[in-house]
């Protein structure tokens, strides 16, 4: 037998997790917990003694800090108070909207969220709903300047790309030329971000990873915006680029993306600079996705991120870099 191999990520057993829920939350018992999905984080269904259902998310160890979790849960409460349709976290007995736990691999946090009814918008991505989703994000970006964040959470894409480049190098080492290509891409995009100061590019708290799977829609048309795990202060254009790029990634019709933008601009028209940099934010999103994939692949695998392959990215990024004039 060889030496012990460390564990990078564990899935918490549902029964002891249910005990932690009963211990930390004022929910009628007995509480039943059942694993729904293992993604970038792990999500469970919670059913209390009155058959009321909630969603429980356990953040991965080392993936988000306590400050990050604090920011996200507070941001959701703020959006809810502003009338945006989000699934807020419910307070624990002690007051905070999250609870610390220890896993084999290290400290983690969990929160219990209101259950979102419906199915992912991506299941039937129609034009009318895309326009409504765009308008909701326009509304969100209009109200977020009022958010008084308990802690700072700033998305600095240039820094992230520079930090995650070694992970990309490891992933593409079998592909001659790719490492140099991605180093050049990271530097060009980072430099462009560095040069944006002084431009008319509004920013503020954002969802951070909005795409067609992150909105649930009921048959009656009720929307819930989900998964603010990547939220933080960023350019609003980065938020819109996230939705647009993900549409292309999962092969949703361009008309859906257009309707999303149109809905958004019906509430908050884009500035001249935002329009001029649309292609830049688009490729920045794509590159950030690939770099994030490389940084997280060994904890979550290829499947949750629907990773096509490195050939696909090499072609797509070259095309989008060109379109962005980079």
């Amino acid at each position: 037998m060889k030496k012990n191999i460390p564990i990078i990520h564990s899935v918490l057993d549902a029964a002891p997790l249910a005990e932690r829920v009963e211990q930390n939350y004022d929910l009628p018992g007995p509480v039943h917990v059942e694993l729904l999905t293992r993604g970038m984080n792990d999500v469970y269904e919670v059913r209390d003694g009155n058959d009321r259902i909630y969603a429980l998310r356990v953040w991965r160890s080392g993936f988000r800090t306590e400050a990050d979790v604090n920011y996200e849960t507070a941001f959701l409460s703020f959006l809810d108070s502003e009338g945006l349709p989000v699934a807020t976290a419910i307070p624990s007995k002690a007051g905070p909207l999250y609870v610390p736990v220890r896993a084999i691999e290290g400290p983690r946090f969990f929160s219990i969220f209101r259950w979102a009814e419906g199915a992912p918008y991506a299941k039937t991505p129609d034009i009318d709903m895309a326009r409504k989703l765009g308008a909701l994000f326009g509304q969100m970006h209009t109200v977020v300047p009022r958010f008084r964040a308990p802690v700072e959470r700033r998305i600095a894409t240039a820094d992230v790309l520079r930090r995650e480049l070694p992970n990309v190098n490891r992933m593409v080492q079998h592909r001659p030329g790719d490492a140099d290509f991605y180093a050049g891409v990271a530097e060009k995009i980072a430099a462009r971000f560095d040069s944006l100061k002084g431009m008319d590019l509004p920013r503020g708290p954002t969802h951070g990873d909005f795409h067609a799977f992150n909105a649930f829609v009921t048959p009656a048309g009720k929307i819930t915006l989900l998964d603010f795990d990547n939220c933080g202060d960023d350019y609003f254009m980065a938020e819109l680029a996230s939705f647009a790029w993900a549409d292309e990634y999962v092969k949703i019709a361009p008309a859906v993306t257009d309707a999303f933008y149109a809905g958004y601009e019906s509430v908050r028209p884009l500035t001249k600079d935002e329009k001029a940099l649309k292609a830049f934010f688009y490729v920045a999103k794509e590159v950030r996705f690939l770099f994030g994939f490389a940084a997280n692949v060994n904890a979550v695998g290829h499947t949750p991120l629907m990773f096509p392959d490195l050939d696909w990215f090499a072609t797509s990024i070259r095309r989008h870099m060109k379109e962005a004039g980079l």
Binding site: I7, I8, L12, N298
Partner: protein, 334 residues
Amino acid sequence: MSAATARNDDVVPASHAILHAVPLGEQIQEYFGLDNPFNCELLHRGMNDFYMVRSAGKQYAARVWRPMSRPASDVDYEIEFLLHLHDGGIPIPTPRRGLDGGNFMPVEAQDGNRATALFRWAPGKPFSANPTIEVSRKMGEIFGRLHLRSQSYKPKQERVIDRTRNIRKGAPLLAELVKHRPEDAELYRRVGEELLVRYDAVRSRTDLPMGTVQGDFHIHNAFVADDGDITIMDFDACGRDYFVQELMSYKWSIEKNNLDPRLWDVFLEGYESERPLTPGEKEQIPLFLLGKEFQYLNGFAISVNAIGHAQFFFPGFDWFAKSIRRHVADARLF
């Protein structure tokens, strides 16, 4: 420190844990004798975990079993069965033995000991990505040949698929999962009890050929390459079973995924072109189809908290309540 805080400081046990790819890769490289440049990357977390291994321009898939999920004898059985099929020309992900001749590499982790095996990389995409009639027929032919080939497999230690054990083990867990649906709970209790009786009754029949089977063949467990080459994947559940029971696994996956029923018709045609079913086998189809569905439901109840709903492609309890009732009627179970 309050009692609550103290409890939160206790480590929550894991139902499943992922090994770090880099140190795992180092051990894989040494055990299987793989050259540089080398990289090991987590590919997929399922019932077991799969890693993509690249070495000197070649690609492999490494499977890491969950701790205690299979005894070493089961892993040996599977690897040797795959090598037997490979020698018989059946397209499977051929295993590669370690430098010491072992079928798998034992590894030690915080949550227990595990086995790691290395397989030839299967090119292409899952059949489910593009389920065509033509490929379905070819897969039927492959399974006909696979079952014929399996009859010459002489394992050192037998591995029998015991469906009754799955039903007994799953019963209390399934009851717990559906306790908020009392009618379903009662239905599943009755189905379980009656299936135990029916499976016991068919044991004495001599017109239901048995042999070593893949054990869990469904639309995601075959890879189809761009040139049309097919690879039958994932023999983790293999063992000795009724051949016709194996076919029900595929038939049921077509139903579950709401695919064209002709996929099953041509699969069976392809299969029978190699190995015609006996009248007894045909007669058992409704019962064994229900048996497969109920086995899946029990397997879900047993493993959901390690794997999750999404990984199972779980269609929901409403879907099962309807489907099981229909299959109970088709099989005239009660």
